[in-house]
């Protein structure tokens, strides 16, 4: 079943601005990603992605592919 959620929210281990910038290029390869940010102030270093119709697994595999942890935050 296709996921229609607009906003996807993940817990990551991105710890600084440089790491955030490192995942930028891979996220921008997905056309469905309209907007994204990482809340570095939060203990969960929350990655928030606005992407209509995108499966969370796609983001997880991309971010993990860069060597970082990324898991969906439970609703």
């Amino acid at each position: 079943m296709k996921n229609n959620h607009q906003v996807l929210v993940f817990k990551t281990n991105l710890s600084g601005q440089r790491e955030v910038e490192a995942i930028g290029p891979v996220l921008s390869t997905i056309p469905a990603v309209l907007q994204w940010n990482v809340d570095l102030m939060d203990v969960d270093k929350v990655l928030r992605v606005v992407a209509p119709g995108l499966e969370p697994a796609e983001i997880i595999s991309l971010v993990c592919g860069q060597g970082y942890n990324c898991e969906e935050l439970p609703d």
């Binding site: 229609n4 959620h5 607009q6 906003v7 929210v9 940010n37 809340d39 102030m41 939060d42 203990v43 969960d44 929350v46 928030r48 209509p52 969906e72 935050l73 439970p74 609703d75």
Partner: protein, 197 residues
């Protein structure tokens, strides 16, 4: 699309303002807020990008509500006494009806967010207040003075009375305090007298 849940959103906003008023901006984290509002952290991020985004959104909405309440039935061409009575009514009503929201806005004004928060003040609000003062000076109903002096004399007494009322007590040894219309009228008369040439 995950539907926006109006009730959840309202619960987040209310709790966030309560946390800020009680514990300051440092007292607000997305996790603490989630616990306090009885929702998941993920849910908060559906609505807001981060803490800063949440604080500024709250400020924007509450500033708009505050200015609408303050401008209710107000006309800059009113006589000075009439306009002041309207302003005292509107401003005290907003505070008394929305103590958390009003204290949140006050905290914003006295924080590093200050510059961003005043940007939410709509131009028509600022212009109406300036025009009112300008007219009153022109008509000889108000002594010309720096804006800060005017504001401090015109409104600080009202806000102080409202704060005494919300605290339920005033000065040490004075016992419990409850603001009533008679006291407000008394203070307003003293203020108008002080501001009139």
């Amino acid at each position: 699309m995950r539907p926006r849940d109006e009730a959840k959103e309202q619960a987040i906003r209310k709790k966030a303002m309560e946390l800020i008023v009680e514990e300051g901006f440092d007292g607000l984290s997305m996790h603490k807020l989630a616990r306090a509002a009885g929702i998941s952290v993920a849910t908060i991020y559906i609505y807001y990008k981060d803490r800063e985004d949440l604080i500024l959104e709250l400020c924007k909405e509450e500033t708009l509500r505050m200015t609408e309440a303050t401008l209710k039935n107000f006309d800059p061409s009113m006589s000075f006494a009439e306009g002041m009575a309207n302003q005292w009514r509107n401003r005290s009503k907003f505070w008394l009806d929305n103590p958390i929201e009003a204290q949140f806005l006050e905290r914003m004004r006295h924080s590093p967010h200050h510059v961003k928060s005043i940007a939410f003040l709509k131009k028509d609000f600022i212009e109406a207040m300036q025009l009112f003062i300008h007219n009153a000076v022109k008509n000889g109903e108000l002594t010309s003075m720096p804006l800060e002096v005017f504001w401090s004399v015109a409104y600080a007494p009202l806000y102080q009375l409202v704060k005494f009322h919300l605290d339920g007590s005033s000065l040490p040894g004075a016992g419990p305090f409850k603001l009533n219309d008679k006291m407000m009228k008394q203070a307003l008369q003293a203020v108008i007298k002080g501001l009139t040439p």
